[in-house]
Amino acid sequence: MLRASPRYRVLKALAAGSPGLLAGALVFMLAEGLIPNLVLITMGRTVGAIPAAVRSGLGSQDGDVLLTRLTVAGLLYALSLLRGPAEDVLTAMVQAKMAAVQQRRLIEAVCAPAGIAHLEDPAVLDRLASARGELSAYEPAGAAMTLIGQLGDRLSGALACLVLAGFRWWLGLGLFAMWLLVRRPLRALVRARIATFRKATEPLRRSWYYLHLAFRPSAAKEVRVFGLGRWLVGNYRDRDTEAMRPAVEEVRLLNRRVALSGVLVLAGYGTAVATLGTAAARHALPLGTLVTMLTMLPATLQVGGLTAADIALETMLSSVPDLDVLTSDLRPPPLPSGGGRSVTGRPHHEIRFEGVSFRYPGTDHDVLHGLDLVLEAGRSTAIVGVNGAGKSTLITLLAGLRTPTEGRILLDGVPLEEFPVREWQRHVAAVFQDFTRLPLTARENVTMGLHGDRDDPDVLEAVARRAGAASLVQELPDGWDTVLSAQYDGGRDLSGGQWQRIALARALYAVERGAGVLVLDEPTAQLDVRAEARFYDRFLTITEGVTGLIISHRFSTVRRADRIAVLDGGRVTELGGHDELLRAGGTYAEMFSVQAARFAPTRETRR
């Protein structure tokens, strides 16, 4: 039970992240519980010593007792004042540490699967958002210190009850029970409200999506041209309000309970104060004790009061399980050893798609359907097909990023899954259509050496030249060390075409480093005419010695490939060289002639 409790897990995570910090936090918690009560007790005792000192004068022994007690109380009080700064430092350290630990675990969790399907699963994305605290106003990383602070408060309140129990056992116990009674339903409601909030995740995410479109620079141009601002914001407001409606009702209920609990507090506190008053009137109680007990009474509030910190804590704790669930759900099954198979130098002969079908989860139609295709080792194959024919999906299957729903892919006759998947993925150098624009330096963008790896400057220059990126890098203010994003100091934004060359250089660099398969998905879509012409002039050198797969709408590129496959309805309908396919007079020939006609020397089209 305790193990499953998010409170326990938060502290355990802190212990794992930094035992020293946990120890510091626990010391803080004890001090938080003890010192305020000690201040009250010593102050009470000081006041208790006043009448005797008045009678005997300050120079007397009674006077000394007073002064000693006063000194102790003063020092303790001064100590209690350092609580704030101590808490600030501890909070900063613990929160930063926990945030680092949690983010690291999240990244590790989502990076654990070799595929990428989980990153397209809304349930996973929801958990991810929640674990990051995106769903609430509170960062989950703050949970540890908020919890420690709360435990310190509870301890302080409980000790105050204990002190009061020293006067009348039932009074201390009674107040303790009263606060628990007040607290329980409040906490239940706070939890219910947070649960409601979590249930509303999907509608809330929808509302935030509109906000996101209005906020982000990426949609800014269309938002302006189409005047979408007010519409987006209105949708955000309406959906957010709708999603939060049950929560508003719960707060109303909560308020009613708080008001009711006020009666209980009045009764409990009335009894306590009256008992003290009666005892005092009967002189059954020394002055010091009376003062101590009186000032202890408000201190018991900390057992059961509902504070903003409680709400924050419950909210933060509600997302604790998300991280654990993500970690365990995404943990990949133990990898097959691969039988010691290595992908180095493969394919020796071919990569074969055998009756491969693929269907995206949650959809009801195959994107690829019974596809058969052979990619011959050391040769390049181009794939053409209408939009949505499944070309890009094919690439993710080849790279082991997704698994076919049916059929299999054979590497030199051996099923792909019998090779170590990570190694195979690295073996496929791919320029995706939506290639990554890293907000890092040009060098890091090409070498993908994200963590200070050494690069080979000669290879770097060579691949940049082949990708047509050499001059663009030269013109950057800091050359290879320029950050490729204007959002960073000294950074520069590149145009689409410039980025495409960087992406190509990246893939070529990987080939130089031993990747045996080169995949180019629309490698020239954003290049200008000269760059495109240069690209296809270099095509043969680019694909030399590797097994290439090229997807392109541009015949200038396609026709240079050794073989061309036409993809239609999820399967390959034509296969052959450019001339061969033209002679065959099928779909390919038709597509080509339509384009070619548009470059005919006269303008029949307009006459």
Binding site: G84, R104, I116, Y269, F432, Q487, Y488, R554, R606
Partner: protein
């Protein structure tokens, strides 16, 4: 008083967002503060009543303590829940406001200039601090109430003791200093934190995660992220420690003063000048005063953030208002007669050292299709941005039927323009909405959406979706249909074709992701459409690398290094045998047979 405006703004914002909740929170907070500051008066009566054997005084004390304390405890809790609601409402309100400002500011400068963007990032990230501002202000108000009550009660004990709460200024000043130290650390860490956030997004987004895997750098990325986080952590903690040192210094000063005052009081009591009951009350009150100061300085940090955020919001309000200001917005014509004229137009991105466009002078005749060709970085997209009013030319003018575009209201001009950009949005909306937002008033008009889809050659695509126009698109939400790059582009095209009779249509590489057959088909249709449909004499501006498309334009402009080098139609330019002819031949090579 420049400090007052953000505070007023915060209160006004809260009042607009939730007037009833604000009033209730204010009342509860005031009462709770007053009650919690005055119940120690009961201690005074109880202790002195005991010493003087007066049971009526004890009874008065008992009643005061019980009532006031219960009231304080209950109202205190109620104001917590009240603040909760208030913060939620305000969060919605503030997010809405910021989003509206950002998305309705007429131009793009604030999204593309590093310094403005960094302000906006911070505003967006800290908007929750702004939402919590009224809560912090209420706390400050409670400090005032409690402070005054405490002062009055202390005055009854020994008037000089009233000075005690003033010593609270020592820690308060020290805390302000600490907050500044923290803020500076925060500012210094902004770029690192942004990079940390960017790396996190890279690792957790499907599109980029693909590449991290094929390059085998998931671990390297995690390590880079971790080391950046560690670095930010160390620097952040250093800042926190420096800040806390100041705080500790302040509190030590306060403690010294406090202990001094208690010594004075106890010594006075020992001499019989003050009663023990008064000492108890005074000590209890002063501790309350201290917790006030502590509470206030605990929230001082968040209030400072809130104030900074409020100031940023005001800055944004002013900025957008300034951007929107046009002396007397010129009218946008109903139809173009002459066309659009560029007159010596030059442009330089703010903060950059070089012009992107130099001295462009050209006529875009009404009703014409104008193609712009040029290499990457020649300034084609920038020109499209100028024409759609995203930026104003740095020099020269853009004239719409002779009237300067700079004088027209950007919103009104844009209501008569439409565009398909290279980096179009892939909205995770229903298919109908993803197209219909191209002309909001007709977003529900299935017929209009249908004909835009047909014009973009996307009718088959939508017909093939499981729920047709009602199919959710994109992977953002459960059940969304994932489209390919080319399919998305068709949706974007359909969106761009929603508006009827635009004065300007910008097509920036509209077919880069389409297959050739689709492109050919689309342009035949589009050419027919624009010839028959341009009742308003609209200009179509086409940016393309594909000469098969470009050649059909009425007018072709060749841009090189931000300058116009050639203008004319296909035949003319081909005959000139200049840059255009060269590029055309280069591309045509791909279609030579044999």
């Amino acid at each position: 008083m420049k400090g007052i405006r953000p505070i007023t703004a915060m209160i006004v914002t809260a009042w607009r967002a939730a007037p009833a909740t604000l009033l209730w929170s204010f009342a509860a907070a005031t009462l709770a503060a007053a009650a919690s500051a005055t119940f120690p008066l009961g201690f005074h009566y109880m202790v002195d009543g005991t010493l003087a054997h007066r049971s009526d005084e004890i009874t008065v004390g008992v009643v005061i303590v019980t009532l006031l304390f219960s009231l304080a405890a209950t109202l205190g809790t109620l104001s917590v829940t009240g603040n909760w609601t208030l913060t939620d409402r305000l969060n919605l309100f503030v997010s809405e406001r910021i989003a509206l400002l950002l998305s309705t500011a007429p131009r793009l400068e604030h999204f593309e200039r590093q310094d403005l963007l960094s302000e906006i990032d911070q505003l967006r990230d800290d908007r929750r601090a702004l939402a919590s501002a009224p809560r912090q202000l209420l706390r400050a108000w409670q400090v005032v109430i409690r402070g005054s009550a405490i002062m009055v009660l202390l005055a009854t004990v020994y008037p000089p003791v009233m000075l005690m709460p003033l010593f609270g200024l020592i820690p308060a000043l020290a805390d302000r200093r600490a907050a500044r130290v923290q803020a500076r650390t925060g500012d210094e860490l902004t770029p690192v934190r942004r990079l940390i956030g960017d790396l996190f997004t890279l690792a957790t987004t499907a599109g980029t995660a693909k590449e991290l895997r094929t390059y085998g750098v998931t671990d390297a990325l995690a390590a880079r992220h971790a080391s950046l986080t560690e670095d930010a952590l160390r620097r952040g903690v250093r800042g926190a420690i420096r800040g806390a040192a100041w705080e500790a210094l302040g509190w030590t000063g306060y403690a010294a003063a406090f202990v001094g005052v208690i010594i004075v009081l106890v010594l006075r009591a020992a001499h019989g000048h003050t009663s023990p009951g008064q000492v108890v009350m005074a000590v209890s009150l002063m501790r309350r005063a201290q917790s006030q100061v502590a509470g206030a300085s605990d929230t001082a940090g968040s209030l400072a953030t809130a104030l900074r955020t409020a100031r940023r919001l005001l800055w944004l309000e002013d900025y957008v208002a300034r951007e929107n200001r046009a002396p007397a917005p010129a009218r946008v014509p109903d139809r173009l007669r002459a066309g659009i004229r560029l007159e010596g137009v030059g442009f330089r991105y703010p903060g950059e050292g070089e012009d992107v466009l130099h001295d462009l002078t050209v006529d875009l005749p009404a009703g014409a299709t104008v193609a712009i060709v040029g290499e990457n970085g020649a300034g084609k997209t920038t020109l499209a941005k100028l024409l759609t009013g995203m930026y104003r030319p740095s020099t020269g003018r853009i004239l719409v039927d002779g009237a300067d575009l700079a004088a027209a209201s950007p919103a009104r001009w844009r209501a008569r323009t439409t565009a398909v950009f290279q980096d179009f949005v892939r909205p995770s909306l229903l298919a109908r909405e993803a197209v219909g937002i191209g002309d909001l008033p007709r977003i529900e008009d299935e017929e209009a959406v249908g004909s835009a889809l047909a014009a973009a050659g996307a009718d088959d695509l939508v017909a093939g979706l499981p729920d047709g126009l009602a199919t959710p698109l994109g992977r953002w939400f459960t059940g969304g249909e994932q489209l390919s790059g080319g399919q998305w582009q068709r949706i974007a095209l359909a969106r761009g074709l929603m508006r009827s009779d635009p004065l300007l249509t910008v097509l920036d590489e509209p077919t880069a992701a389409l297959d050739p057959a689709a492109e050919a088909e689309l342009f035949t249709r589009f050419a027919a459409l624009s010839r028959s449909g341009h009742r308003a004499g609209g200009v179509t501006l086409l940016v393309s690398h594909r000469f098969s498309t470009v050649r059909t334009a009425d007018l072709i402009i060749v841009l090189e290094g931000g300058r116009i080098t050639e203008v004319g139609d296909h035949e003319t330019l081909l005959a000139r045998e200049g840059g255009y002819a060269q590029l055309f031949t280069l591309q045509a090579r791909a279609y030579e047979t044999g």
